[in-house]
Amino acid sequence: MKAAVVVFPGSNCDRDVLHALRDVAGIETSAVWHKETSLPENTALAVLPGGFSYGDYLRSGAMAARSPILDAVRDHASRGGLVLGICNGFQILTEAGLLPGALLSNSSLEFICSPCLLKVERTDTPFTNAYRTGTVVQFPIAHHEGLFFLPDEELKDLENHGQVVFRYASADGTTGAEFSPNGALNGIAGIVNREGNVLGLMPHPERASEDLLGCSDGLGMWNSIKSWMEGR
């Protein structure tokens, strides 16, 4: 089973994810140009990486969500395949309707590039099974549009279905809007779809996958995916 990293014009974290998956986690991974209409054979995981696809024009992720490869990604998801969207990839997934919500400009009005602490709220997903529930991990964030937004009723629905996987937190695992660096509602940093096979998150696990980079908490995500693949 393989992983595929989709490359859009303006993606800039594609090589980082490719390196983390292939060289660090040992998962066979290839890059796929966004104009392709199919994913490589035996793709188990499709990754939409971070960056500024289409220059963030119109709305972050809006144009990339209409790229030809997205039909293949949508089919892959509907067959139960894994889809991971990181940062701009998360924005693309919401724009494509594969995840609920929208990512608005940070409440501070600033681009934030900083390490941040996250509580792992769910460990029963293919992306987080190597973590212990309630663990606090450190992944960096680097974005201007990361304020997760959903209207009240839909937000309640999301919470009631336990779709929040990562929440901004303090070092002792306390959560709350006050720990959200970007003003995200309910401190939401990452969510899954109801089926649990599509995950989107603003922080970058691929930038925290080796001690050399200062932190290797992100390894848990790649190991989770690897053990999910091995269990198939």
Partner: protein, 83 residues
């Protein structure tokens, strides 16, 4: 026939408008103390060739639904004129 469509996209009420907030602060710093809110939207102008105004309108609505507007957070108004 040629038409020009003006699509005005605004953030819905209740959706935080950080650009509007930043502009509000700047305007106040410039001495405009009597303003309480600024909302920033975007204007998209599309030149389109169609057999009728109705057909052009239908196509512009489809473009709004498919790409130009995210209806979760944005609302729109469209005006269409022949030229």
């Amino acid at each position: 026939m040629h038409f020009r469509a003006h699509v005005l996209v605004s953030l819905k009420e209740g959706v935080l408008d950080t650009q509007g907030k930043a502009v509000l602060v700047s305007l106040k710093n410039m001495g405009h103390f009597n303003i309480s809110e600024v909302r920033v939207g975007k204007s998209i102008v599309i030149t389109i060739e169609a057999a009728s105004k109705d057909e052009a309108a239908r196509q512009v609505e489809a473009m709004c639904d498919d790409l130009l507007v995210n209806s979760l957070i944005e609302s729109r108004s469209v005006t269409l004129e022949a030229f």
